[in-house]
Amino acid sequence: MTSEQTSTTRAAPDTGSPKRTRLPYYPGCTLKTTGKGLEDSALAVAETLGVELVELPRWNCCGVVTSLTDDDLMRHIAPIRNMVRVQEVSDAGLVDDKRVVTLCSMCFNALKWSNARIVGDAEDLKSLNDFMYLEEDYRGDAEVVHFLEILKELDPEAIAEQVKTPLGELNVAPYYGCTLLRPKSIGIDDPEDPTIQQELLEIMGATVIDNPYKTVCCGSYQTVQDKYAVAELTHGILSHARAAGAEAVTTFCPLCAFNLDNRQREVLEKHPDFEPMPVFYFTQLMAVAFGLNPKCCRFDLNHTDPRPLLRGKGLMKEGA
């Protein structure tokens, strides 16, 4: 971007490139329901940064959990059918990239792992293509990326330029969970000591509280079977963040968010002295820092309301 530009009418956010790259985007079911706060805020942030996410016109379940059994190909149909959809929009010229962007880190994990597993085995790819005979054959050249990777590719200056409300007063502990990082072949960062959220939070001006519990398991689907077992994990993760000085945590995973946020109800049952802590989707905080309309954050869907904290820090107007 040239600083000499003095146009009085401020058009669409300018990121320096004349034509925005259109990336295929896979939402996943949670982002259309309980995780709306992640989708809406991420789409608003992407638009601000000049990244055009084009939702796949047809998509199905990501597969949720990657099947590790050798001969259980049935469980790979769902993710690979989505890769066929990516191929379709790419072939039709509706997008400029064969890398499909995910926001939900479980969808990211399931799609990327399955894609790698099936593309890496020509015989299995043929089996699936034969089974899905109503679809075009998947050629195996589409890729799965996470939104954080797209953010990391951008010029940090361009991101910093959009920060209207630096998060300076806010002490935030990034939380990763497992699906963004493990297995190592799929993960987007060091599985033991990830820093990708920290780097971006620092651009946002936040005070980042690093702590070793950032990669501890949230309890995942045990939350269905035994919510109190998960509540103990939540208590551990949030108490350590609090002890390290954090006032809130961030995540990209709707399941981690559910376990860390909604399970605070059960934490309070067992530990009445526990101080509730807001759990942000990463992009909700980005939207706050960018000064975007808070409606896109869907804070009404958060269990522990983060708005009092934001207002207390002067990061959100009263009444907003």
């Binding site: 259309k32 769902a78 109503l134």
Partner: protein, 252 residues
């Protein structure tokens, strides 16, 4: 009338199938189909349904509107030399030589019982009444089974996403034949999920039609009472007269 017929004509009439009205002497092309494994020679231009009747079956189930709308005549068949089990509506599909078939008179599938006014208009209504939807592996077997060529898997995925509008749109032509549910490896009852979704969309997702509100108000004001009372009180002769003089849409 019958007295003028020759004996040969009477015999000829008796060979005519009572239900199909097909005179076998007029038939040039014949095919062999297998109904529940037993072979029958039937005229090649019949539908599966009329062919079954030609073969002597009296259909008291698996037969309804005969127009492809009611979904009662779900049929599973296999073409000669093929491994695939295919499905169709018997009243809409012509027989083929070597076709092996059976009709499915009824699907004893679960249908949820609910008070639509008490349900919340979001995805949770599906996980509450049909939690199996979460088990969909996207194999698309339901879509392949659908005799209406609906994108069944896509509308189940719409249910998982809580997208009532696309679910209603994509399942609108469902005739509830049950073939999708019979073939689903995840044991989902697709057609009842679709039914629930369309009802929810109708109640909560679509605006109340203005003309319906207007007409209901007219009825409540008693604007049609005198016309109706006149009909109820009319003599049989008068009713016959009115019926003969009626204006049909096709007359206009």
């Amino acid at each position: 009338m019958s007295e003028s017929k020759t004996m040969m004509e009477k015999i000829s009439e008796s060979t005519r199938s009572l239900t199909t009205g097909v005179d076998t002497r007029d038939v040039e092309h014949w095919v062999t189909i297998y109904i529940m494994g037993r072979g029958y020679s039937v005229p090649a231009d019949l539908t599966i349904m009329t062919a079954m009747e030609f073969a002597g079956y009296k259909l008291i189930r698996s037969c309804g509107c005969r127009q492809g709308f009611c979904g009662a005549c779900a049929t599973i068949f296999r073409r000669e030399g093929q491994y695939k089990l295919e499905s169709a509506l018997a009243c809409q599909t012509r027989v083929e030589d070597g076709m092996c078939l059976v009709q499915i008179p009824f699907s004893p599938a679960e249908a949820a019982y609910y008070d639509i006014a008490a349900e919340s208009y979001d995805y949770s209504v599906f996980s509450k009444h049909y939690p199996e939807v979460a088990r969909c592996v996207s194999c698309n077997t339901c879509t392949k089974a659908c005799p209406q060529d609906l994108e069944v898997m896509d509308y189940i995925q719409s249910a998982i996403k809580g997208d009532f509008e696309s679910l209603a749109e994509q399942s609108f032509d469902c005739i509830q034949c049950g073939l999708c549910a019979l073939r689903c490896p995840a044991e989902i009852v697709q057609y009842n999920v679709g039914h629930l979704g369309r009802r929810m969309f109708g109640r909560y997702g679509s605006p109340e039609p203005e003309h319906l509100k207007t007409r209901l108000a007219e009825m409540e004001r008693g604007e049609f009472s005198s016309v109706l009372d006149a009909l109820v009180g009319a003599s049989t002769e008068k009713l016959k007269e009115l019926y003969a003089a009626r204006v049909r849409e096709s007359d206009e």
